[in-house]
């Protein structure tokens, strides 16, 4: 298997793999952010601080 590097230039191969993986990662992240189901920025989690505090207060039986 090591003879692969007698055919493929290691420097160019590493550069190509690095560029490919970075672009693939960016592409997948952007695709997921463009969906409704898998967008982790606008899924309401964690709930906003005010809503969380109000829930905590209601669970504690506080009237305000």
């Amino acid at each position: 298997m090591y003879k692969l590097w007698l055919i493929l230039d290691p420097r160019r191969t590493l550069a190509a793999i690095t560029a490919f993986l970075i672009l693939l990662g960016l592409l997948i992240h952007l695709l997921l952010l463009a969906t409704v189901d898998l967008n982790w920025h606008e899924d309401g989690r964690p709930i906003p601080l005010k809503a969380a505090a109000a829930y905590e207060r209601s669970q504690a039986g506080l009237p305000y």
């Binding site: 090591y2 003879k3 692969l4 590097w5 007698l6 055919i7 493929l8 230039d9 290691p10 898998l38």
Partner: protein, 47 residues
């Protein structure tokens, strides 16, 4: 002639040395990727 002509100009020893770093790195990357997918699927199952 120590080494036969080849496309990259690496000797057999150099190719072996690069390979011995490349393959474990690749498997390490695959492990990382699989772990990331497992953790992500536990948190946000998409199937």
């Amino acid at each position: 002639m120590a080494d036969r002509y080849n496309l990259t100009g690496l000797s057999d020893e150099e190719a072996k040395e690069f390979h011995s770093i490349f393959m474990p790195s690749m498997y390490g990357w695959f492990t990382l990727v699989v772990m990331a997918h497992v953790l992500t699927h536990l948190r946000f199952p998409w199937i």
